[in-house]
Symmetry: C2
């Protein structure tokens, strides 16, 4: 019986393909786990949508993943985590893990001077969840947030090392540097792709916190605690579902996942 | 009976609020007409979505507008026009007008050296509809297209006169200038908002063709031909529906419409 639960899938979703940076980390940390991913590429981006719409979409997707025999639900999207994690946790009785808490914990451990910057979409920044989570851990840490809405389209356009990306990074990030933060949370799954530009813009004294890695470690810890870690030494099975095949999907998907995307199917949730 | 048809609404839709630049022109050219607008703000942008998804969404929206007693359907979105106009025309028996044909006609009339540039989203450029329509009018005109995917997020971020917008415009548009076009079609309803930057980048010798204005004139012509022009000297009724109230909706909407947005309701189509 336990063996049966172990071999079930980790269900991971994102508003698009940015969540593949999280999948990439899970594959590294938990190479035995079977994964089923859903990217809502037909309705991406969630960043500027209202909270009710984001909750509706997240529940739809979670229902779809539940039909794929999953043992844990992972919200690999900062916007969906910040807005919909409570609704998801209330509705499903499997463990639900988002990217915010692990990122907040890593930030609280990283900052030496108790001054943390958070960058993300409008929805993530407005929801103020990173501040709340970080201050739950240590109320003396001050958190300064900054929306960086053009980073996602820049990454999707593939302008990773473009001068424009550098100028925009300068404009978005210089207020955080001026306010003297010593660490910045990359509060959007797209941002690790332009990590180098961000790092060179803020300088090497500021540490960047990538919540994808912290999330993968949190998943491993929870699987162990619940005794549902897949210890069978099998070849893992990866399934990818998207609501649309957008332009340059293969190219961008491979950039996020760090390997070729295979076994991808389109499904419509409406 | 005819009076009853006259006073029916013009049904206008777009993937978001960019189509309000078309509504703004219709209000100027046809001040007596009642208008009902639908902006699919929950699912914007359409630019990178697949053709099937764009067709599905367009049919959903058209069905919604049909329930609002419309006498004409106007697709105020280049992407939806380029991909879905045939499906819409086949399905409904009221006149269906898109932004492509009027823009193509205006471009064919504008170019003196028979060399036209077209800028738009990936979907519009890949569909190649502007070329096809322009060459139907005059096969000797050569058309060079260029996708400008970052223009939409820049407009929505409100970076209208920002140096970054200028640099990106330079990068996107210099190939068109080098190829010697003498007119450029603004093949996306967002682009009139950064018309000044585009004009100063390409220089004053190149004429910009804004299909919103040509579309409003085409609507007027068709209403007259079909004898369904609203000649009743009433105060027009404007209704706006959106699938979501996104961030900065009022601010951005007013920028596109050129006046305050009032009487806006949210509806869900799923």
């Amino acid at each position: 019986m336990k063996e049966k639960i172990q071999s079930k899938n980790l269900g991971v979703f994102d508003s698009g393909i940015g969540g593949l940076t999280v999948v990439s980390q899970i594959m590294k940390v938990l190479p035995n786990e079977n994964i089923v991913y859903f990217g809502d590429t037909a309705r991406v981006p969630y960043g500027a949508k209202s909270e009710q719409v984001i909750i509706d979409y997240s529940l739809q997707i979670a229902n779809f993943l539940m039909s794929k025999d999953i043992k844990m639900l992972i919200v690999a999207c900062n916007t969906a985590t910040s807005v919909a994690i409570d609704a998801l946790t209330a509705k499903f009785d499997i463990p639900v893990i988002g990217v915010i808490k692990p990122g907040a914990r890593a930030a609280a451990e990283t900052t030496k001077i108790k001054k943390v910057g958070v960058i993300g979409t409008y929805a993530t920044v407005r929801s103020d969840v990173y501040s709340k989570e970080i201050q739950k851990i240590d109320p003396s840490i001050s958190v300064i947030s900054k929306p960086c809405p053009l980073f996602v389209p820049l990454v999707e356009e593939g302008w990773i090392n473009h001068q424009v990306t550098k100028i925009i990074a300068e404009e978005y990030l210089s207020p955080l540097v001026k306010k003297g933060v010593d660490s910045i949370v990359l509060g959007c799954t797209h941002y690790p792709i332009i990590r180098k530009v961000i790092q060179s813009t803020v300088g090497n004294k500021i540490k960047l916190v990538d919540s994808a890695e912290s999330t993968a470690l949190e998943i491993a810890k929870t699987l162990k605690e619940k005794k549902i870690l897949n210890t069978l030494n099998q070849t893992p099975n990866y399934q990818f579902f998207v609501s649309d095949f957008p332009h340059k999907f293969d190219e961008i998907g491979a950039r996020f996942l760090g390997r070729k995307l295979e076994n991808v199917k389109r499904v419509q949730l409406n």
